[in-house]
Symmetry: C2
Subunit: 276 residues, 2 copies
């Protein structure tokens, strides 16, 4: 039996489009509709049957019993008020943004049945053209319920993620944002900065390590400047901690302090090998 | 016809062991002998037939017409004098170190027929246990001849790398070290520093981007502190440039300067997409 009668996906990109495909494949939604600012994305989403119907206008969302906010996070924040006026009070609303505190705080004021979600299944290959039904399979999905979160809505959302193969982990929105600063946002900032720093003439020599390290610098600037800005305090703190650790390596080099250098590299190697 | 009668590999680890396998597979050497500080590595190298004979003593190298210096770079620098006394004047000597200027300068004083080499085919999975005959296939190999380099030795070394499938690129030793600081040594320093900075409790959430970014933090500290120290001036300069670029992102965040932030991310994304 379908878990939802009508699902409205706001932003049919990689994540929104993939969720549409997964919901339809698992028959969790009778109807899926989608919106996008780009007419091309809507056409593509319809063509691959990620949605049954689509529009650039938000009106198409009316009558949904599940809304998925899947646009870049600043757009999500900007659109929430308009979406609230289109839907019923008992409609469940989720988002899939990479930062949670700003979205969850605002959404909980507007929607009676909101559940913050962050499927750890993005990619530098954005857009509905890269959508696939198994994007969330075997992936972690962090959900960030708060004390006031509607219990039935929470249960339905957990069930949905489980049905499409995700492992659900619950976290406090603030703890999520601190953790993701280190686990995702800092690495992205590092990748962008490394690409900026590397002289162009050397790039023909790039070995696999450099390619792996900068792969995520191909990520969408539209998505990532929103993520960086909405998690700026945690990201700045993680940049400072990282810069301090890199500075320790630099200082050991400058002083020819091979003992400190070896100790720092060995500690990092052990931590990597034991925990990942 | 074999290119060499007896090849002596000093340090049968990942690169030395793989070169032994490749030389024997392509019948480029009649005999291959190897040394290591570790008896276990010698036994393993013999077992997989990367070498015909091996020893912890350097004497086994006597009579070689090609010597491959494949130990960690500081060990290479330390052992060169002793190796010189064991071999004939016309023996060709190559190294495979990740930094070139220090090795090439010293080796050119000691050996009449030295050619500096750096196959870009290492891995965080070190040791002869990971050796494979095709490690150098389709990989770049940078060689760093200087004005005084023996032409016949150079030709033989280029032929050897070509025969085992490498694309040979010639560079000045100093230019090599500047380029590799950005393309390899800085990314390794970043990976070690990121592992050090990341709070242990968050590592269970590590998405693919974090795993890719820190893969090379599993690399051997013994190898990498030598590489860092022997290229410290270029590495420090690349750390400074990278830190400055990361600082620009941080400043834009702090100032809520979304325009500068978007411009920085977009420039990095374009550079990545166009050149890699």
């Amino acid at each position: 039996m379908a878990l939802f009668t009508k699902v409205g996906i706001v932003g049919v990109g990689l994540v929104g489009g993939s969720l549409g495909l997964a919901l339809k494949k698992k028959r969790l939604a009778s109807t899926v509709v989608g919106t996008s600012r780009h007419a091309g994305s809507i056409a593509r989403a319809r063509a691959i049957k990620a949605v049954d119907d689509g529009s650039r206008r938000l009106d198409i969302l009316a009558g949904s019993d599940l809304i998925v906010l899947a646009a870049p996070v600043q757009t999500v924040l900007d659109q929430m008020g308009r979406i609230r006026r289109l839907i019923d009070d008992d409609c469940i609303v989720i988002d899939v943004a990479s930062t949670k505190e700003a979205v969850v705080t605002k959404a909980n004021k507007l929607f009676a049945r909101f559940v913050g979600c962050h499927p750890l299944a993005g990619s530098h290959q954005t857009g509905v053209a890269n959508a696939r039904a198994d994007l969330f399979f075997h992936a972690d999905c962090i959900i960030t319920p708060v004390r006031s979160t509607d219990k039935a809505a929470l249960a339905a959302v957990v069930k949905m993620w489980n049905c499409i193969g995700s492992r659900v982990k619950k976290m406090d929105p603030a703890a999520h944002d601190r953790a993701l600063a280190y686990m995702s946002h800092l690495p992205h900032a590092m990748a962008f900065a490394l690409m900026s720093a590397a002289p162009r003439k050397y790039l023909t020599l790039a070995p696999q390590s450099f390619r792996d390290m900068t792969r995520i610098a191909s990520s969408s600037p539209e998505l990532w400047d929103d993520i960086f800005i909405t998690n700026k305090h945690n990201l700045c703190a993680s940049i400072d901690e990282f810069t301090s650790q890199l500075g320790r390596i630099r200082l050991a080099l400058q002083r020819n302090d091979t003992r400190s250098l070896f100790r720092a590299l060995t500690a990092a190697q052990h931590k990597r090998q034991r925990s990942l």
